[in-house]
C-alpha cells in the first residue's frame, strides 16, 4: 500500500511534474507514511535515477532542473512533518549557494544547485545579487558545510575574493569550504583567492563538493 504511493511519487518526479509530486506527497502524509521513509523511497530514489541519467547524457539540463523542482515541492510537504517528529533527513551535507553581489546571472548557479540536490546535498539557494554581508550572516545562521559562489562577470569576480577574505576575518574559514564557479573563473583564480574548490561545470562542482565533504 505504502509502496504504491511512493512509487507514484517517484514517477511524478521522473516525469518532472511539480504539481503532481506535491499532491502525492500530501496523500502520503494523510496516509500516515513516515516522512523519512517517503523521502528516501520516493524522492531520493527518483533523484538518484535522474542523477545517473544526467551523467550518462540520457536526459537534459532542463529535465534535471524540473526534476529537482518537483522533488522540492514534495520536500516542502514532508519537512514540516519531519520537524513535528523531531527527525532530520539524511543528507550528504549542506550547501549554501548564490550569485555574488552585482551579478544577476542565475542559470549556471541554478544548474549547480539542482545537480547538488539530485546528488543528495541539502541546498540552500540565496538567489542572485547576494551581498557579502548576507553570505556571512547566512553562513553563521545555517552552518553549511560548503558555500558556492557564482560569478559570471569579470567585474564581479573580485567579490568572490571579498567573501573569502571576510570569512577569514570572521574566523569562519575552517568551518566552511568554499567552491567558486562561473565562466570567467579558473583553477588559477581559485588558488589565488584561496578557494577550496573550483567547479568548471556543474558535474565538476558536484565531484568537488563530494570530495570536500569526504575530507572533513
Amino acid at each position: 500500500m505504502n509502496g504504491e504511493v511512493l512509487d507514484e511519487l517517484k514517477e511524478a518526479i521522473l516525469s518532472f511534474d511539480s504539481e503532481k509530486a506535491s499532491e502525492i506527497a500530501k496523500k502520503a502524509v494523510s496516509q500516515g507514511i513516515d516522512p523519512l521513509k517517503a523521502i528516501e523511497e520516493g524522492v531520493s530514489r527518483a533523484l538518484n535515477e535522474i542523477g545517473t541519467k544526467y551523467e550518462k547524457g540520457e536526459i537534459f539540463l532542463i529535465e534535471l532542473m524540473m526534476a529537482a523542482e518537483a522533488s522540492k515541492s514534495a520536500l516542502k510537504i514532508f519537512e514540516p512533518e519531519l520537524r513535528k517528529q523531531r527527525k532530520e533527513k539524511k543528507t550528504l551535507g549542506k550547501v549554501l549557494i548564490g550569485t555574488v553581489e552585482g551579478d544577476i546571472h542565475e542559470i549556471g548557479k541554478n544548474i549547480v544547485a539542482a545537480l547538488l540536490a539530485v546528488n543528495g546535498f541539502d541546498v540552500i539557494d540565496l538567489g542572485v545579487d547576494v551581498s557579502v554581508d548576507t553570505f556571512i550572516s547566512k553562513v553563521k545562521e545555517t552552518k553549511p558545510d560548503i558555500i558556492g559562489l557564482s560569478a559570471l562577470l569579470t567585474t564581479t569576480l573580485p567579490i568572490q575574493k571579498k567573501i573569502i577574505d571576510k570569512l577569514r576575518e570572521e574566523g569562519l574559514q575552517d568551518k566552511v569550504k568554499v567552491i567558486i564557479g562561473g565562466a570567467p573563473t579558473s583553477p588559477e583564480w581559485a588558488e589565488e583567492i584561496g578557494a577550496d574548490g573550483y567547479g568548471a561545470d556543474a558535474k565538476e562542482a558536484v565531484k568537488i563538493a563530494k570530495k570536500l565533504i569526504r575530507a572533513t
Binding site: 537534459f60 579558473s186 568548471a200 561545470d201
Partner: protein, 476 residues
C-alpha cells in the same frame, strides 16, 4: 529552408539546352532491342553507331509520367519516401573505398571483408544514416565477384535499405535473388524493396554494354534504380558549371526515357555525382565549393521536373581526420541539402571517396544531423513565437524552468553525440580529448554492443550459395 542557386528562368534555360542536346546529339545505347524501342517511340536511331537522338516531345512526356515519389524500405518495413519538395532530407554512406584508415595503428591499408562488415554494422547503428550504400570493395575476396560479396556483407550487417553497384546483368540478377531470399520472395521484394541497384552512365552520354544490361534487368524487375551521372567538369564535360549541369541532367533524362519504355512502373532515382577536375593535379574534386553548387542546382532542376533526386555530398578530398575534412564535408552536405537534394550520399569516406574511416562515419553522423536540422528551418506559429509566455515572464525573463522549454526543447534543438560543447576547463580536466579520439571511442562502443540483423542459418546458407555459384561461373 531552401536556397535558390538558379532562378526559374535559368532552370528553364538549362532544361531547353538538355532537350536540344538529346535531340541533336543523343545517347549511345548498346542494345539493338532498346534502340528499336526508342525508334518506335519516335527517336532518330543509328543502329550501326548505336546512337539514339531523342525528340523533345518524348522527353517532356516521359518526365511527366515517371513516378514522382520513390519509396525505399528497410528490413523492418520502415519506409523512406523520397519525394521532391519534402522537408525531410536523408543521408547515406557512399562507396566504394578500396582502402581504410586504421585509426589505432595510424595506417592506410587495403580494406578487407571484416572492415566492410564493421563499417556496415556501424552505419546500421547511426541515427542519421538513412540509406546504406556499400562503403567498400574488399581486397580479400575474388575480384571477379567482389560485388556479390559486397551485397552479402551489406545485407548481413544492416537492417537499413542497401544500395550497391551492378556492373553487369548477372550481378544485378544475383543481387535481386539475394534480397528476395531475405524478404521471402521476389514479389515481397517488389512490394517493399529493401535494395536499390546503382548503375553509372559514362560521360558524355554513353552506357557501356554490361552496365546497360544490369540497368535493364533492374528496371524490368521493378527494383529502384539509382542512375548515376558523374561528369568531370573540364575533362569530359564543359568547365563551366552551367555546361556541366546541362550535360549531367541530359544524361539522366535519357535514363528516364529508357526506363519508362522498358517498364511503365520503373522506379528511377537520378543521382548526380558531377565533379570538377583540379586544374593543377588533374584529380577529381569532391570537396570543393563547385561540387556543392552543382548538386544544389541539380536538385533545383529535378524539383522543376517534380522528380526526386540523389546526389553526392558530405564529401571531402582530405586524407586525414583534420580541419579540411570537417570544412569540406559540412559545406558539401549543407549546400546540396539546401538546394533540395532528397538523399545525400557521402558518409564514411574521405580522400575523394577512396578511403573509408569508421571514425569519420561517426563524425559524418553529426554533420548530417546538423544539416537535417537546418533544412527544417524555423517554424513560426503562436506556440513557437511564445508571445504570451514572454509577456508573462516579462523583465525577469526566466525560461529555464518553464514548461514551454520542457515541451519544445527536443524538437527545436539539435543535440550532438560526439561534438564537444562543454566549457574549456571541464574539457581540459577530462583529458582534452579531441574529436577523432572521441569518435574512435564511440566506434568501439557501437561495434562491441550493436547487433547485426537476425538472419536464419538457412537464409545465410542460401545467400552463400548464390555467391558460390557466381564464383563457380566466373572460374569457368
Amino acid at each position: 529552408m531552401l536556397l535558390n542557386i538558379l532562378s526559374k528562368n535559368e532552370i528553364y534555360n538549362v532544361h531547353l539546352s538538355c532537350l536540344e542536346i538529346l535531340e541533336f546529339v543523343g545517347v549511345k545505347v548498346p542494345s539493338v532491342k532498346m534502340l528499336k524501342m526508342l525508334s518506335d517511340a519516335g527517336a532518330e536511331v543509328d543502329l550501326k553507331e548505336q546512337i539514339a537522338k531523342i525528340p523533345s516531345y518524348l522527353v517532356e512526356e516521359m518526365i511527366k509520367k515517371v513516378p514522382h515519389k520513390v519509396a525505399l524500405y528497410d528490413r523492418e518495413g520502415m519506409k523512406i519516401d523520397v519525394k521532391p519538395k519534402s522537408k525531410e532530407v536523408f543521408f547515406g554512406t557512399v562507396g566504394f573505398a578500396t582502402r581504410i584508415l586504421d585509426f589505432e595503428k595510424g595506417e592506410y591499408r587495403s580494406l578487407r571483408s571484416e572492415d566492410l562488415a564493421r563499417l556496415t554494422l556501424l552505419a546500421d547503428a547511426l541515427e542519421n544514416m538513412d540509406v546504406y550504400m556499400t562503403t567498400g570493395s574488399p581486397s580479400d575476396v575474388p575480384l571477379e565477384i567482389v560485388d556479390r560479396y559486397m551485397w552479402l556483407i551489406s545485407l548481413m550487417n544492416t537492417r537499413k535499405h542497401v544500395v550497391n553497384e551492378a556492373n553487369h546483368r548477372e550481378g544485378a540478377l544475383d543481387a535481386i535473388k539475394m534480397a528476395s531470399e531475405i524478404v521471402g520472395g521476389f514479389e515481397e521484394l517488389k512490394e517493399k524493396p529493401i535494395i536499390s541497384i546503382l548503375i553509372s552512365i559514362t560521360s558524355p552520354f554513353r552506357y557501356d554494354k554490361p552496365t546497360f544490361e544490369a540497368f535493364l534487368e533492374a528496371v524490368k524487375a521493378d527494383i529502384p534504380v539509382y542512375v548515376n551521372s558523374g561528369p568531370l567538369a573540364g575533362a569530359n564535360s564543359p568547365v563551366t558549371l552551367a555546361g556541366t549541369l546541362t550535360l549531367n541532367v541530359t544524361e539522366l533524362l535519357s535514363s528516364i526515357v529508357i526506363s519508362r519504355l522498358i517498364n511503365k512502373r520503373s522506379r528511377i532515382l537520378p543521382a548526380s555525382w558531377a565533379r570538377t577536375m583540379d586544374m593543377r593535379e588533374g584529380s577529381a574534386v569532391l570537396g570543393g565549393p563547385e561540387f556543392a553548387l552543382l548538386h544544389a542546382a541539380f536538385a533545383q532542376v529535378m524539383d522543376y521536373y517534380n522528380i526526386p533526386c540523389v546526389a553526392g555530398g558530405i564529401l571531402s578530398d582530405a586524407k586525414a581526420l583534420d580541419v579540411q575534412v570537417g570544412s569540406e564535408k559540412t559545406l558539401t552536405a549543407l549546400i546540396p541539402v539546401l538546394g533540395g537534394v532528397n538523399i545525400v550520399h557521402g558518409m564514411g569516406l574521405i580522400a575523394s571517396e577512396n578511403l573509408a574511416s569508421l571514425e569519420q562515419l561517426v563524425i559524418d553522423n553529426e554533420i548530417a544531423g546538423m544539416a537535417k536540422r537546418i533544412r527544417k528551418g524555423i517554424d513560426v506559429n503562436e506556440e513557437t513565437l511564445a508571445t504570451d509566455l514572454i509577456r508573462k515572464t516579462g523583465l525577469t525573463g526566466g525560461f529555464f524552468k518553464e514548461k514551454h522549454t520542457l515541451m519544445h526543447f527536443k524538437s527545436q534543438l539539435w543535440f550532438p553525440k560526439v561534438f564537444d560543447r562543454r566549457i574549456l576547463d571541464a574539457w581540459l580536466s577530462e583529458g582534452a580529448v579531441t574529436i577523432d579520439q572521441k569518435a574512435h571511442k564511440e566506434v568501439e562502443k557501437i561495434i562491441s554492443t550493436h547487433k547485426p540483423p537476425e538472419i536464419s542459418k538457412e537464409t545465410e546458407e542460401k545467400l552463400m550459395e548464390i555467391v558460390k555459384e557466381a564464383e563457380g561461373r566466373s572460374v569457368k
